[in-house]
Symmetry: C2
Subunit: 345 residues, 2 copies
DNA sequence: CGTCATACCGTAACCGGTTACACGAGCAAA
DNA sequence: TTTGCTCGTGTAACCGGTTACGGTATGACG
């Protein structure tokens, strides 16, 4: 592979001149520039971005560290990030913590010297630990994580009020005995959603100990919850799953047991994954623009990198909106219309 | 940020010794190693991977260049790649060609000096162009692309025989007038699938000019196809969409027009995206293990990087398998059972 | 005690670019 | 002619690591 010195020699100039010519930094005569460019073509020289970023102290890359890569949730986030990263000519270096705390540290450390900033989503990590791992000198934006004590910028979803609103809606539809299927115990999103549910039940329905079934955000755990519900003879006229994935499993499990939705029991989820509107009946859920989670975080990071100060905007809370569909007996928008984009569902 | 020289100074040794101690390359006394480690802790030094890869001429990173990041297809590929990359301690640098040829060149060029190898998926690029962009010295594996004249290793899906098999299955179910919804004209996958369909119709049903509706792999184009079908009074007892996404739109459109599936018309797709089994009725389709597309490509690349020779295995063809579900009146496996993983659907 | 192998360690040259600074040429003003 | 600028270019010092090579001290051995 040709290096800059090769090009310089070929063009009969110094490396400095070659560099200037290639980067168009002025101060180069037209003929010499042409000579350099000819040499570039001839040797088909491609600049070595690694070396480049070493001196420039800029990599034009941001590191993205996610807990996992499974499912639409993460792919939507990545897409959102890429959307705005691409506009600014930034690249994405993917890190995956694969659920383990130890790997998280490794993933962050491996980013040193490869990225200009970091986008981290640590859904089940204690803030203190996170602070240890992160390099204070490296601009970092947290995804879906309220840093609390740390004063790192972040963008998060208002899980609490979302869950509250959904519970309220179920109650308004006439449900009395609403059961919640919780997410993983240590997961912050899950805990906030559960709190929102419990508070709504207490404040609105005056029920202080609503039934809560365990779950782990997976489809299987939704199926299991359905079985528990039916076999345990748990009285329920509505079930609110902490995410759509579980709601999908739940509905399948209920159908298996001969329960009809929403006839016998209403069902609601959270996230509005693409699948939700295609179910039959379609799934009522809290719509989160997952891609926006990624794109706004990336925009915040870009502004930090440009040296702007975020000021009050250092924390962005995305409010999910309620989408009433078939599983709560709501306005069931014909799938074809929704798919064609005629309605902003 | 502390550099290696800082550490060396702090520990009272030379940079060479510090480097050796940190990397555990022997030839360092236990006490001096301890001193270095202490300095590392004290300054909390994290090695600068950028600089490291410059001298090592190894980045421990592979570049992944995809045409887009939209939908489950790509996220599954990335997940598959990450799965095996992670095992070998490799990182992923994402490049996105955003559909444009010009961007493709830029994306590839930007990888120079940042990666040890490349995974490229250029579904609508001519081989000659691709050859121009690619650096022959950089190990590259093509995703879902038969390089033909270029002798680059690749892993691809046997779209032709998959489509042939699906068409055959529809005919075996008694369909006579099978309509195909094609994918984007310039897309190789789409063209191969269309060829498989046409050949099967000709050979098995002796129909040489089967009806083919235009599409672009999007859900909307499936809806449009349904409208064309109904309004155009096109006789059809089965519709074979070139991918699942379009099949989903198609089904919604048919339902809108009052057509029942599979009663009035059977429907089949291609890919087996996760959504497929959750539709009601569930979608018959050709199952492609999309994640394997990514993981096998990554494994091939790793072997090349390790200096092994691929030999005959330089081309891997993944054969899709037929999954008969509800939309062709096939064995409709209860969703709950399938979700629980009791059956390997 | 001299010789030599061995094990540790330091000096300095690299990897492939960028860029501060110096230098010479050309030209206008004094 | 001398001074002073500007403009184009070259020299060399970086960026932050790795590593070839050479030096020194130590112990074994004749």
């Amino acid at each position: 592979m040709a290096t800059l010195r090769d090009v310089a020699r070929e063009a009969g100039v110094s490396v400095a001149t070659a560099s200037r010519a290639i980067n168009g930094l002025g101060n180069v005569t037209a003929p010499t520039k042409a000579a350099v460019m000819a040499a570039v073509k001839k040797l088909n020289f491609v600049p070595h971005s690694g070396a480049r970023s070493l001196t420039r102290r800029k990599t034009d890359t941001v590191g993205v560290i996610l807990p996992d890569l499974f499912g639409e949730f993460f792919s939507e986030i990545i897409r959102g990030i890429d959307l705005v990263a691409h506009e600014s000519g930034m690249h994405l270096l993917l890190g995956n913590m694969h659920g383990s705390t130890h790997e998280t540290a490794a993933a962050i450390a491996a980013m040193r010297g490869r990225v200009d900033g970091l986008l981290v989503m640590p859904p089940d990590l204690k803030p203190e630990l996170l602070a240890d791992y992160l390099d204070p000198a490296l601009p970092t934006v947290l995804l879906n994580y309220d840093a609390g004590s740390l004063d790192l910028p972040f963008v998060a979803v208002d899980n609490y009020h979302g869950a509250y609103a959904m519970t309220e809606a179920l109650l308004a539809r006439g449900a009395r005995q609403v059961v919640h299927i919780a997410g993983p115990k240590h997961n912050r999103d899950a805990r906030d959603r559960q709190r929102g549910f419990a508070d709504a039940m207490a404040k609105i329905a005056k029920i202080s100990n609503p039934a809560i079934l365990p779950g782990d955000f997976s489809e299987e755990s939704g199926v299991k919850a359905a079985q528990l519900l039916v076999q345990g003879q748990l009285p329920a006229d509505a079930v609110f799953a902490a995410n759509d994935q579980m709601a999908v499993g739940l509905i399948a499990g209920l159908a298996e047991a001969g329960k009809s939705v929403p006839g016998d029991v209403m069902v609601a989820g959270f996230d509005d994954i693409p699948l939700a509107r295609h179910l039959n009946p379609s799934l009522s859920t809290m719509q989160v623009h997952i891609d926006r989670l990624g794109s706004t975080a990336m925009m915040m990071l870009l502004r930090i990198l440009r040296g702007e100060t975020l000021g009050g905007a250092s924390a962005t809370i995305l409010t999910p909106t309620l989408v009433a569909r078939g599983t709560t007996g709501g306005a069931a928008i014909p799938a074809a219309v929704a798919a064609a984009g005629a309605l902003p569902t």
